[in-house]
Point group: C2
Chain length 321, copies 2
Amino acid sequence: MRRIVVLAGGVGGARFLRGLRQAVPEAEITVIGNTGDDIHLFGLKVCPDLDTVMYTLGGGIHEEQGWGRAGESFSVKEELAAYGVGPDWFGLGDRDIATHIVRTQMIGAGYPLSAVTEALCRRWQPGVRLLPMTDDRVETHVVIDDGEGGRKAVHFQEYWVRLRASVPAHAVVPVGADRATPAPGVLEAIGEADVVLFPPSNPVVSIGTVLAVPGIREAIADAGVPVVGLSPIVGGAPVHGMADRMLAAIGVGTTAAAVAGHYGSGLLDGWLVDTVDESAVKTVETDGIRCRAVPLMMTDLEATATMAREALALAGEVRSL
Amino acid sequence: MRRIVVLAGGVGGARFLRGLRQAVPEAEITVIGNTGDDIHLFGLKVCPDLDTVMYTLGGGIHEEQGWGRAGESFSVKEELAAYGVGPDWFGLGDRDIATHIVRTQMIGAGYPLSAVTEALCRRWQPGVRLLPMTDDRVETHVVIDDGEGGRKAVHFQEYWVRLRASVPAHAVVPVGADRATPAPGVLEAIGEADVVLFPPSNPVVSIGTVLAVPGIREAIADAGVPVVGLSPIVGGAPVHGMADRMLAAIGVGTTAAAVAGHYGSGLLDGWLVDTVDESAVKTVETDGIRCRAVPLMMTDLEATATMAREALALAGEVRSL
């Protein structure tokens, strides 16, 4: 399994990738990153998920936080607040801003996001090939109550960061996804992959958004290679983030088995659940998806590498069926 | 002399304005700022002269340096260098960058520079009305040897900051000035002024550029009010900066008298030279410009306020002629 394709969102995906790289250093790993979380702030194009993968694998991440830069300062943010220019709820650090300045300038000069991402990665050397899911604009919106008896859609970052997912989400809409095309290299990487992995990322706003780009889900389903995922839900709750809120919005329960069922046997061949969810194995297998219960807490690099090895082992089992 | 119009460049102009505000706190001061030094860096619109005035009068300036922000940090600049993205010779600080982000975003949203400058000044409260000379793009270029026997034009900032004016300048060209129109309020302020002052700013690339915008020189000459300047040349050398280089480029000597003669009696009614240049008084008056020798070193706020009072006193004399 030399060629591995991984669909990735933010923190969970990035940490899993670090373990995967450790587990199979000789593999060619292509990461298809979610760009539905991208947002324009202060005229700058911010790609939180791509940057989290890039900084995490490139050694620049704020380890405890899981996102943003290590050794970060916030002078620009303070000054913007002094000008009364918002929004003030997004934690744009000074070091991070340089990335957005370079990106915005390249986009303005006509480079597609995929070329920009490649250029940024020349500095960070993440050890994987990082592709945005699409070069087209896709923006994940979340439908919430407007407080006046109606509903309104807000940008995902507004829901996630400003509101901290504290209000019910009625729907999640990847605006523009239906007209988007996969970025150069995405379908080729899937077509040449030996295995496709879904890390323990948010199944709705991370992996779900990548799958919403026409052609990607189909390419994965038709690739004829094992597709194995790791549950982001452990013991009925998300390990990281607020995936429960997003699952509720699309009518999927917050259980390891429900998420597997949501992906479905048409897409997923294998599924890893945590040992505390051992009882889910039977349910998932009844759905036609090979399932194993293994420790799924990414407590350190070695534990994460072990998870990656388990995922690849399960892929091997699936292929030999 | 309630209404005062001042043409301003960078450091010298800004420091003089602080003294003027101290000297006549009740006056309505309108500053017409040079924008020929403006430059786009990393996709951001940077207006060094407007910002120097704004920061100096608003209490945010780096006092020793004369430009840039106090308590500045350079994380963004370090990161841009790490990406290998240049230019690296312009000292863009983190706090300063926030100003450029706000400006660039407003320009992108369709606001003219004059409206943007007004918005930025709402934070800084400089105590003067700061107007850019024009909302149109003007860019001062300096013609230098290209090292291959020919000549080339470089942006003023490249000449000033990167090359530190270390090579001969053959010409100074305010590109776009001939097609520029004065910003809203500029001609009105001149028309309503009781006096017009030229601070000890660079007569070529600061005040000269402002005067190059069609309509401004004529409005000042026709205003029928005293026009008084202060020599930026003391004892045959510029007090601050590298005005000698710029004067040489336009064939004007580096003396207090030569600069007065360059402005000419058609524009200038009064001229202050430093006491060390007392001998220049007669030459200047022969040119038809009333001249006084007074201390012109802006060593502290009180010394600068005294210079401003001397300029206004000379304006009073001129008017009573």
